[in-house]
Each structure stands twice: as structure tokens, then as C-alpha cells.
């Protein structure tokens, strides 16, 4: 039994780590760097990730490239929920990691996307260079290769326990900062 599970794991991890199809999702300046990653100088296609999908149903990788405002947060959560398992998130740029230069005095920016969705790889810098995005993808691939196909449920549960709101509710209230609430419907 364990041998079979091990074999499945090897094949499955090899396949999904080598074909991470990103979602076309960019909210601000970091998006420009993400676009240049698929150009001739950097060529994300080498890792099999040049297939940018428009529809979240077919994407595996959500690269959060840019500032997430509180208006955008519900949309981000919705996109993440619409993606099919297995799904991964790279928080690209200081804004997505922690709020970046908007962290101190902004009235509208989410301080890090990990308040909303689980993040696999954090990529700070403002903006990250294309090479560092490639490195983030390589790191994500390394991480995937050590994962177990049967552990995914536990990971999701662990993430849910970290959140400050109940993600399974139909009409749910997101608590992003301590004093601000937003309503969102996930259907």
C-alpha cells in the first residue's frame, strides 16, 4: 500500500510541480514585472509556466502581483475560491507580503494577502525583479515535490483555523483589519 502511495506521490508531484499554469491576475506595478517574466529575456516558459489562463478554473498558481486594496480583497478571495485544487499562491512584492510602503498610514490597503488566502511562497522587494519571480517559482516547485497528496486536507484546515472569519459561510463577513469589515458572497 505504501509503495503504491509513494509511486503515485512521485508521479503526481513531478507532474504538478512542472506544470504550474498561472492565473492572469495583476493589480498594480508588480504586474509589469510579472509580464516581463514571460518575455524573451527571462522566459518563464522554460519551467512550463507560460500558459497564462484567463479562467481561474484552469489555473494552478495565483501570483498576487501588486497592492491588494480592501475593495479588491473580496474579488481576490473569490478568485482563489474559484480555482480548482491543487492550487498555490505566490505573494509577489512587498505590498502583497505585508502591505509594503502602504503598511503604516494607509486607510485602504490590506496588510498582506495572507490575511485572506494561504500563501505558499513570499517574494518581498519593491518590485521584485523578474529573476526573483523565477526563483520563487523554482522554490515553489521544490516545495511541491516534498508534499504528500493526502496531506492537502490538513493544510486547508490549518489555514482555515488561522483566518479571522469563517470561509465556509454563504454570505460571509471578512475581517481584514481589526476595525474594518467587508461583505462578500461566494457562490
Amino acid at each position: 500500500m505504501q509503495v503504491i502511495a509513494g509511486a503515485i506521490n512521485t508521479v503526481y508531484n513531478w507532474a504538478r510541480s512542472n506544470s504550474l499554469w498561472p492565473l492572469t491576475f495583476a493589480t498594480s506595478c508588480c504586474g509589469i514585472e510579472m509580464m516581463s517574466v514571460s518575455s524573451a529575456n527571462y522566459d518563464i516558459a522554460r519551467f512550463g509556466s507560460e500558459v497564462f489562463r484567463g479562467s481561474p478554473r484552469q489555473a494552478d498558481l495565483l501570483i498576487v502581483a501588486g497592492t491588494i486594496t480592501q475593495k479588491m480583497a473580496p474579488a481576490l478571495l473569490k478568485l482563489y475560491e474559484q480555482m480548482a485544487e491543487p492550487k498555490y499562491v505566490i505573494a509577489m512584492g512587498a505590498c502583497a507580503c505585508s502591505g509594503g510602503m502602504f503598511r503604516e498610514n494607509s486607510y485602504s490597503v490590506v496588510r498582506g494577502v495572507d490575511k485572506i488566502i494561504p500563501v505558499d511562497v513570499y517574494l518581498p522587494m519593491c518590485p521584485p525583479t523578474p529573476e526573483s519571480l523565477l526563483e520563487a517559482i523554482i522554490n515553489l516547485q521544490k516545495k511541491i515535490r516534498t508534499q504528500d497528496i493526502f496531506d492537502r486536507d490538513d493544510e486547508i484546515k490549518a489555514h482555515k483555523s488561522r483566518l479571522k472569519f469563517d470561509i465556509d459561510q454563504k454570505d460571509l463577513l471578512i475581517c481584514i483589519d481589526d476595525d474594518k469589515y467587508f461583505e462578500i458572497e461566494v457562490g
Partner: protein
């Protein structure tokens, strides 16, 4: 089919067995062809845009598409809450099945096509107009406005490319006097070299057929049904995992098989361009030579098909997507009249050159 009739099986064993074997051959061939074509496309797109393309998985990225296929197999299958479950599940099959069926009609060499038919070319093109039903159902059933708009566009476009494609086929039928694909190929072997191919009298027909078949494959510059910059993913927006993979598979399979059809009716199919086959010059007995010639015929057909496939990919890398109204105008006002004009030219050639 006659070739195999020497077997000692009774008919009720033999006929199902024959079609089972035919099915397995087609299915396996198709899977490999699609895996290869996707890789070829990604590599060529890399080449055209001065990149390297996938090169990490396997030898120079040779296993990239295998990884993609396995990942899509394992991916979660989502059916939207408001979707019509039956139609939603059925439509990828409706798209995929006709495209797989038509593989049986191409004569891959002088003696083997899974199914010979006196109206082979007609059946081929008619079956290829079926997938539009699947696309329409996919759009209606997935309860998503982008899907619906994409599939409606696909229908609008179907009307405008089906006519030129059939009229261009008509020119070939006039030249050869038959709808049977085997007869069409043998009618092109009259001159015993590449000057007998129908692309020469019916060059205009070849061009209109090529353009319309690019539209039939739903590829750039005519990929409105799945235009990513306009409607997320078009008719397959809501599809994930294996169902999406079937749409993907169908697109590439139809690309290959339409190119093979084009090679068959315009470029002499499995005929060698020099009239004689290379194996003819080898000092061998007929017993060995005959199978060698069959393999060589297969090789010529695949070679011609691959040239056309690369042309299609090249078109994709070069041209931007047209606007929908411009494209409809292009088909109705330019391609359709051109293909009708081609019929006249071909008729005149047939009249004055006599029996070619």
C-alpha cells in the same frame, strides 16, 4: 477492410474485432499526436518570439506536455452550482467524439484507412461541423455569461466558414470526379509527380480552404469563441480538470486531422512528390518492398501534414486576433466569393485541359 478478410473468423467476431482494433489504433495515435503537437506549438512559439520554450522537463522539455496531461487528470473537477449537470458533462464529449471519429476516414497509405466510404470527404467535413453543438451546449449549460457569449460567437462564425470550406472541397470533387478520398488521391497521381496535385489547378481553393479551416480549428486569428482578452476563456470558462483537457485535446486533434485532410485533397495525400517511391529503387523482392512502400506512403502523408501544421502555428504566432465583425465581413465578402470564383476557374481548366 478487404485486406484483413483472409482471416478465418466468422463475421460476427471479425467485424467488432476490426473496429475495436481500428479504435485502439486511432486513440493511441491521437494521444501521441496531440501530446507532440502541443509541445511543438510551445517550442515553435518560443522560437518565433526569440525564447527557448519549455526545456526543464525531460530532454529539452520533451516531457512537458506529459506532465501537463497528468496534472490535468488529477485536477479537481468543478461543476458550478447553477449549471445544467447533464449538458455540462456531455458537451466535452460532444466536441471530442466527432473529431475522433473522423480520424477513421483519412487514408493513411495505399491500403489502410479504418473506414473507406464512397462519400468519405463529405462525411469528414460534415462530422467536423458537429462539435459546434458541444460548444453551444457548453455555453448554455455552464450558467456563465462569458461562456454563453463565447459559444454564440462560435455559432455566428460557424455559418461563415462552413460555406467556403464545402465550396472549396467542391473544386476538388470536380477535378477528381469522386467524393471518395482514395479516388481523390489516385486522381492526383496522373502526372506521376507533384504537378498532378490539385493545389496547382485549384490554388485559390487551397487558400480559401486553409483560411476557413484555421477558423474551423478555432485558432488565432479566428479564435473568438475562446478569446482570452475579451471573455475570460470563452465557452470553456467554467471547465476544469479532465473536461477542460478534452476541449484542449479536441482542438489539437482537429488541427492535425484537418491538416491531414488538406494534404490529402490538395497535396496528393500519401503520394510521393517524385512519382516513384524511394523503396522502388531498392534491390529487394516484392514481398519486402510492398510493406516498405506502405510505410513510406505513411511517411509522406505525415510530412505534408506537419508542414501544414507548422504553417498554422506560424499563422498563430504572426497575426493578432481580428475583430468579430471584421472577421465575419472577411468571410462573407471575400472568402466566399473567392471560393465561388475558384469553382469557375476549375471548371474552365477541366473543360479545356480535358481529362487530366
Amino acid at each position: 477492410m478487404n485486406y484483413f478478410n483472409i482471416s478465418y473468423f466468422p463475421d460476427y467476431v471479425y467485424i467488432p474485432l476490426y473496429y475495436l482494433i481500428g479504435f485502439i489504433v486511432v486513440a493511441v495515435l491521437m494521444l501521441f499526436v496531440v501530446l507532440f503537437l502541443v509541445l511543438l506549438e510551445r517550442k515553435l512559439l518560443g522560437f518565433f518570439t526569440v525564447r527557448v520554450g519549455p526545456n526543464r522537463v525531460g530532454f529539452h522539455g520533451a516531457l512537458q506536455t506529459v506532465a501537463d496531461a497528468i496534472k490535468l487528470l488529477f485536477k479537481e473537477d468543478i461543476i458550478p452550482l447553477k449549471a445544467d449537470k447533464l449538458l455540462f458533462t456531455l458537451s466535452p464529449i460532444l466536441v471530442f467524439a466527432p473529431i475522433m471519429t473522423v480520424w477513421a476516414y483519412i487514408p493513411f497509405n495505399g491500403f489502410f484507412a479504418v473506414q473507406n466510404s464512397v462519400v468519405g470527404s463529405l462525411i469528414f467535413l460534415s462530422l467536423l461541423s458537429f462539435p459546434i453543438l458541444g460548444i453551444l451546449f457548453a455555453g448554455i449549460s455552464s450558467a456563465n455569461k462569458y461562456s454563453l457569449l463565447g459559444s454564440l460567437r462560435a455559432c455566428a462564425q460557424t455559418l461563415c466558414y462552413e460555406l467556403p470550406i464545402f465550396i472549396s472541397l467542391l473544386s476538388v470533387v470536380i477535378l477528381s470526379g469522386s467524393l471518395d478520398l482514395n479516388d481523390i488521391v489516385s486522381a492526383q497521381s496522373i502526372n506521376n509527380n507533384c504537378f498532378g496535385w490539385f493545389i496547382i489547378p485549384s490554388l485559390l481553393g487551397f487558400i480559401t480552404f486553409y483560411i476557413s479551416s484555421v477558423a474551423m480549428m478555432n485558432r488565432v486569428p479566428f479564435d473568438f469563441p475562446e478569446a482570452e482578452s475579451e471573455f475570460v476563456g470563452g465557452y470553456h470558462t467554467e471547465y476544469s480538470g479532465m473536461k477542460f483537457a478534452m476541449f484542449f485535446l479536441a482542438e489539437y486533434a482537429s488541427m492535425f486531422i484537418l491538416c491531414a485532410f488538406m494534404a490529402t485533397i490538395f497535396l496528393g495525400g500519401f503520394l510521393s512528390p517524385f512519382g516513384k517511391y524511394i523503396s522502388d529503387f531498392l534491390p529487394l523482392s516484392d514481398l519486402i518492398k510492398t510493406p516498405l512502400i506502405f510505410i513510406e506512403q505513411f511517411f509522406w502523408l505525415i510530412l505534408k501534414t506537419m508542414v501544414l501544421v507548422v504553417a498554422v502555428i506560424w499563422t498563430r504566432a504572426t497575426l493578432p486576433r481580428l475583430r468579430i465583425d471584421r472577421s465575419l465581413e472577411f468571410f462573407w465578402k471575400l472568402i466566399l466569393p473567392l471560393s465561388i470564383l475558384n469553382i469557375f476557374i476549375v471548371c474552365l481548366i477541366k473543360l479545356f485541359m480535358g481529362a487530366r
